[in-house]
């Protein structure tokens, strides 16, 4: 099979699903983003979290280590991103959330799953959950100018994380009916999110190409650099290190665009960042994977 086959096995499912989403939009087939998002957030994601942690054997130490790495990465994104924006005289409220919170869900999860199997997915979910919490609190606070903790309590995935962490710490095994049900429902999350991603890329209205390109590329470089730095600093093992680097180097999240739209923070330029960083990551992702998985 070789390296190309291995990389293709990881990247192709992501590209194909995004492509299906693009095609879906192009053919004007019915697609209701609100329903899909609602299903994914309220039903699918909590189920995926519980199903994955019920299947994977993971120690609470490994879990804590990845959570620490995640927090450090997000903090470094905020710090470096903030400094660079300041230095280039750009508004932090407009662009920092997009630099801080990458696409760890729809793209990061399948890449980690196919590259590293279920243990990779479990660790990637930890990083993703931190990002989700961060987006709703810190991200919203930066864009809106105020913090909202209510949103956290209304995120079902938070409760799923609490249950999953309890299962790991107390070494409780979920009964088979819960495993069956949650793995069935959790299986919708990744493909539906990827199709939704493709479809949203079709609909983005982009402006300010020069600046979006620079910021989009900056996100990818910043992500890869910070992810690498943090995993070296913490001396992470192979799987955790790969997860941290992959998740950190994801493109700008579509949710950043939704926030920018909601609070009117230059949505068209953020859309450009989303589009450009996603398209570029289709090229950089295989290279990054090669580096992370094969080059030591």
């Amino acid at each position: 099979m070789g390296v190309i086959g291995d990389l293709l096995a990881v990247v192709a499912p992501v590209f194909i699903c995004v492509g299906i989403g693009l095609l879906w939009g192009y053919l004007r087939k019915p697609f209701d983003n609100e329903i899909i998002t609602s299903l994914v957030y309220n039903v699918g994601a909590p189920c995926l979290i519980i199903a994955t942690f019920a299947k994977v054997k993971i120690s609470s130490a490994a879990l804590g280590e990845l959570a620490l790495a995640g927090v450090l990465c997000y903090a470094a994104f905020a710090l470096i991103g903030g400094l660079v924006l300041r230095a280039s005289r750009l508004a932090i409220a407009d662009f920092l959330p997009s630099l801080m919170f990458p696409l760890t869900g729809s793209m990061g999860l399948p890449v980690c799953l196919f590259a590293l199997g279920d243990p990779g997915l479990a660790l990637a979910l930890v990083y993703f959950m931190l990002g989700t919490l961060g987006t709703f609190t810190v991200g919203a606070a930066i864009a809106a100018g105020r913090m909202s903790f209510k949103e956290i309590l209304r995120t079902p995935a938070v409760y799923a994380v609490i249950v999953a962490v309890y299962m790991i710490v107390a070494e409780v095994h979920a009964p088979q009916w819960i495993v069956n049900t949650t793995s069935l429902l959790g299986g919708t999350v990744i493909p539906m999110q990827l199709i939704a991603l493709g479809r949203s890329l079709m609909q983005l209205r982009v402006a300010g190409v020069g600046r979006s390109t620079a910021l989009g590329l900056f996100r990818l470089v910043l992500g890869a650099g910070v992810g690498w730095g943090v995993s070296v600093a913490l001396g992470l093992g192979a799987t955790a290190r790969a997860v941290v680097i992959i998740q950190s180097a994801m493109p700008v999240a579509v949710s950043s665009y939704l926030f920018a739209q909601l609070y009117n923070r230059k949505p068209a330029e953020v859309a450009g960042m989303v589009l450009i960083s996603t398209v570029v990551s289709f090229v950089t992702l295989p290279l990054l994977l090669y580096f992370v998985l094969h080059a030591g």
Binding site: M1, G5, D6, L8, A9, V10, V11, A12, P13, I16, C17, I20, K29, P30, F31, D32, E34, I35, S38, L39, V43, P110, F114, P175, Q176, W177, I178, V179, N180, T181, L184, L185, G187, T188, I190, P191, M192, I195
Partner: protein, 292 residues
């Protein structure tokens, strides 16, 4: 045993329950979109992904398909005779007797009861009943057969692609296996949620008659399945899947077709809702019989 049965049935109840709850909470649900996604993407992918990972030989898969064709013919003949005897119109009620819920209910049941082997057998019966429903079933509702629709049924492409790999004796490359497995994962939960949505939305008429027809669907199905399993000498997963798939409730698709050709849709809806509700009682018994 009880926990085994719970592990098999719970996913179906919970997913259908989510669909019903969704409607009750007044949340929007776009059935057309969900059907398009599960029918055009999910079903062909789960077919391909399951059959190429196959733990079942092509011969056994084909045998199950042939047996299920015979089962469907027997459903049609028996159903037609009984409906004639009680004086009910065949054009309204016969397809519901022949084409049952092999997809959204039968696939997960077979998967959780017999693993991937069970799922492979279940897909074999589902291919037959899906094609049958859109040709023979639709023909009965509309008054003329519609064979051309065979080629518009996306499950066919899943089967053809599988055959290409099976006959050349090659394994699909990992990227294709990963992609289809991931997309195939959408089919069952989406179909179950829309089953729940349909249950909550369908307007039921003629409860008594619907009850009689539901008992007949499940009872006749079970009888035919049992007889065929004996005759064909099936055992294990093959026998279990044939029995379960034969005794499934009336498929939601019948309601959609009845509505399209104006064959008393609310009466057909009644048979869908009542037989599905009834199956929540008969399923545990059926599983007990099949696994015991």
């Amino acid at each position: 045993m009880l926990t085994d049965i719970a592990a098999i049935i719970a996913p179906i109840f919970v997913c259908a329950g989510i669909g019903m709850g969704w409607v009750r909470l007044g949340k929007p649900f776009n059935t057309e979109m969900v059907t398009e996604i599960s029918f055009n993407l999910g079903i062909p992918c789960i077919t391909f992904s399951t059959l190429t990972r196959l733990t079942v030989s092509p011969a056994a898969f084909g045998e199950m398909a042939v047996i299920y064709i015979i089962a469907t013919v027997l459903f049609l003949v028996t159903g037609a005779i009984v409906l004639k005897l009680v004086g009910l119109p065949l054009t309204t009620f016969l397809p519901g007797q022949a084409f049952c819920n092999n997809g959204n209910m039968g696939l997960p049941l077979s998967l959780f009861a017999f693993g991937d082997t069970g799922l492979a057998y279940a897909i074999s019966t589902f291919v037959i009943s899906s094609i049958g429903s859109f040709t023979v079933g639709m023909g009965i509702y509309s008054g003329r057969p519609s064979w051309g629709l065979v080629w518009r049924n996306p499950i066919i492409y899943g089967v053809v692609a599988t055959l290409a790999f099976m006959l050349t004796g090659t394994k699909p490359p990992q990227w294709l296996a990963n992609t289809t497995q991931m997309l195939g994962g959408v089919a069952i939960p989406m179909m179950l949620i829309s089953l729940g949505v349909a249950m909550a939305r369908l307007k039921v008429a003629g409860f008594g008659r619907a009850f009689g027809l539901s008992v007949m669907r499940i009872g006749m199905g079970f009888g035919v399945g049992l007889a065929l399993a004996e005759v064909a000498g099936l055992h294990g997963a093959a026998r279990g899947v044939l029995l379960m798939q034969s005794a499934m409730p009336v498929a939601v698709n019948n309601y959609l077709l009845a509505a399209r050709f104006d064959r008393s849709p609310s009466e057909v809806a009644g048979t869908v809702v009542v037989s599905t509700a009834l199956s929540f009682v008969t399923l545990p018994l059926l599983l007990y019989f099949v696994l015991g």
